[in-house]
């Protein structure tokens, strides 16, 4: 399908692609650079920067759905893992999330509450909302207990198809839930929680 792009933010129409290139109202490329999981500068990235901007445009459109949604008015959606640059000796596994993160095809989000902590309940609500209303290639609801304290963490990984120049995209909309890097469930989002 041809994805209709807002001409104001269409990266194909931007004269230059920098970290300040706008992708949506209030969202620039910089939003996907300073994440806590993968910090880097746009200049450090190799490859087609316009392609990266097109990928990020799709991600920015997804972010907008949260900002304008009353259900999440007390939440803040943050990019926890944006654009990714592997270590000098690292070669990301082909078609892994980190491979996709190099070009912005995959972005990892966290939904924080007013207290600045992950809002697990609404993260699940957001995953359900996105699975129904969003166009994507794959949505992964990811839980882990990597934190040394054993605290549960929750992220949503949004994978987009390759955004070619004419935005002729194929959104396969596959679903997955993972726990500690292992698949917990395929083709559905499953809520994991720790009772209070």
């Amino acid at each position: 399908m041809i994805y209709l792009v807002d001409p104001v933010y269409n990266p194909n129409f931007q004269s230059d692609i920098t970290s300040a290139t706008p992708l949506a109202p209030g969202i620039t490329v910089a939003k996907f650079l300073g994440s806590k999981g993968s910090r880097l500068q746009f200049e450090q990235l190799s490859g087609d920067k316009r392609l990266i901007a097109r990928q990020l445009y799709l991600q920015a459109e997804s972010m907008r759905t949260v900002v304008t949604n009353k259900t999440f008015e007390k939440n803040r959606l943050i990019v926890s893992e944006g654009l990714y640059k592997p270590a000098p000796s690292e070669t990301p596994t082909k078609d892994s999330i980190n491979d996709y993160k190099q070009t912005g095809r995959a972005v990892v989000y966290q939904l924080l509450g007013e207290d600045g902590r992950i809002d697990f309940e609404n993260t699940f609500e957001l995953a359900v909302y996105w699975k129904d209303f969003l166009k994507y290639q794959e949505l992964i609801l990811d839980y882990d207990t990597y934190d040394p304290s054993g605290e549960l963490s929750c992220q949503i990984v949004l994978v987009m198809p390759v955004a070619n120049e004419n935005f002729d995209l194929n959104f396969s909309k596959s679903l997955k839930t993972t726990f500690n890097g292992s698949t917990l469930s395929l083709n559905e989002v499953v809520e994991v929680f720790v009772p209070i």
Partner: protein, 484 residues
């Protein structure tokens, strides 16, 4: 006499009661003419503002917090009628002046959620859902008695026309994932009252156009694992107030068109080598070498000698020899010896030398003396071994600890990001180091979630409407729809 009542009766007769009783009366009775009110939420209930009655609590847009940053306030007590003077417009703008005991507040809210709230506990919330501009014509003073958190998700540009004076009673910690660039158009002065440490994991470059002066009032140590090259186009002066030692394990070279070594006591010693040259003058008290004649491993002198020798084993020609009477033989073909010399059969050496014998100050530098001198002692060759095994380097770079995947201690967010690659998740070196340092939970590979809750498959879920579209009838309020 006719009255207005007669006309009324006449009209009923002429037009009928139905028309007469409804003419000029709105169809919906005395409803609000615009149709906006009562709003859908107020159907079949009191028209008094819900917030005024405490049924709802109006609040401003705050969004969520950020990592380590909370935007939480204490809960607002619902209003009690009639303490809350509430005004709300058709689009949703609201002004509340609330005197509810325990919940006193003032709220000015835009329909978008932006606005100003003076809360019951004295907190103030200022919210803007879009751009915020603050213009101050005069001075601006900000005093914060507590802690402050600033989170900017985009770039921050600060322009200061005057001086920028920063006084911090505690520490200043700056962490940047990218570059740090400072441009100082005039001087840069930095005073450190205690120690200063620099760790550079890559290269370091310093360029000084004018004079570079370093003054150390104590020791200075430079350790170089690789090569050190000093290239100076002009003069070099290397002066020591006490002792200057230069040693090299393999070779020490000093060369110049004019070379000078001078000292009260000078020692140039070695086992083999060459000292002197074609036009070199030698001055000295004693020239000494191994005993024995030429060809027997002893010292050999070539050239012309002017002076006296205490002994000559063979001599082609003796101009004047005070002790020639001791000459053992003289070749016949050279000529007849002049003077009072004569050949004697018995070889008898003089017991008293004609000159005072001067012994060398030091023993002859032989291998037995030179070898231990070079290997130990103050004048020995210094063995240089900087960071053997690259232990310090690896400790600084950290790459070895994490199998090259991190070059610093990673945060849990960076670890999580790295472990998204299945290859990294299986990397025993990385995982072992992270668990060992307490940066990763030992249960990182546990595949059993604590509890399972709701589950939705790919089929679109039933959704409640989230955004009100117009003043819909009440019966639509809870209608659900399925996204396609």
């Amino acid at each position: 006499m006719t009255t207005i009542l007669d006309n009324f009766r006449n009209r009923i007769k002429e037009l009928g009661a139905g028309q007469e009783n409804t003419e000029g009366v709105p169809r919906e009775g005395f409803n609000e003419a615009s149709g906006e009110f009562p709003r859908r939420d107020y159907f079949f209930g009191s028209s008094i503002n819900k917030s005024a009655r405490g049924e709802t609590i109006e609040s401003l847009f705050a969004g969520g917090g950020d990592y380590g940053v909370s935007v939480e306030f204490s809960d607002q007590k619902p209003s009690t009628f009639p303490y809350n003077q509430a005004q709300e417009t058709t689009s949703g703008h609201a002004i509340h002046v609330d005197d509810t005991p325990g919940g006193e507040r003032i709220l000015i809210k835009h329909r978008t959620g932006a606005g100003l709230e003076l809360r019951a506990d004295g907190s103030v919330l200022f919210s803007s859902v879009n751009k915020k501009v603050s213009v101050t014509g005069g001075d601006d003073v900000v005093i914060v008695e507590g802690q402050a958190d600033l989170v900017y998700k985009g770039n921050v540009n600060v322009k200061i026309a005057g001086d920028y004076n920063l006084e911090v009673e505690g520490n200043i910690n700056v962490t940047t994932a990218g570059n740090k660039t400072e441009k100082i158009h005039r001087n840069h002065t930095k005073t450190v009252d205690e120690n200063q440490n620099h760790v550079v994991k890559g290269s370091r470059s310093l360029r000084v156009v004018d004079v570079n002066t370093e003054t150390m009032l104590s020791d200075r140590n430079v350790f170089v694992k690789g090569e050190q090259n000093n290239f100076v186009e002009g003069n070099v002066e290397f002066t020591s107030g006490d002792k200057l030692i230069t040693t090299a394990v393999n070779e020490w070279v000093a060369s110049s068109q004019i070379a000078n070594i001078s000292g009260d006591t000078v020692s140039v010693i070695g086992v083999t080598g060459t000292i002197g040259g074609q036009l070199i003058d030698h001055y000295g008290k004693v020239f000494s070498g191994p005993p024995g004649g030429s060809g027997l491993g002893g010292t050999t002198h070539y050239g012309t000698f002017i002076g006296k020798a205490t002994e000559a084993i063979t001599s082609d020609f003796a101009n004047k020899a005070g002790e020639a009477s001791f000459a053992q033989s003289a070749p016949a073909e050279v000529g007849t010896a002049t003077g009072a010399s004569k050949v004697r059969n018995a070889k008898t050496y003089p017991t008293e030398m004609p000159y005072v014998q001067i012994e060398p100050t030091a023993d002859m530098p032989t291998t037995a003396i030179i070898t231990p001198l070079l290997s130990s002692g103050n004048y020995g060759i210094r063995n240089v071994n900087v960071d053997p095994g690259d232990e310090l380097k690896l400790e600084i770079l950290k790459t070895d600890d994490y199998d090259g995947l991190f070059n610093r201690e990673p945060s849990i967010h960076e670890i999580r990001s790295k472990l998204r690659d299945p290859a990294n998740l299986q990397n025993a070196t990385l995982i072992g180091a992270l668990i060992g340092e307490g940066r990763l939970s030992g249960k990182y590979a546990d595949v059993r979630p604590p509890f399972i809750g709701r589950a939705y498959n790919k089929k679109p879920s039933l959704q409640f409407g989230r955004t009100l579209l117009g003043n819909n009838p009440a019966e639509n309020r809870s209608k659900r729809f399925t996204p396609s």
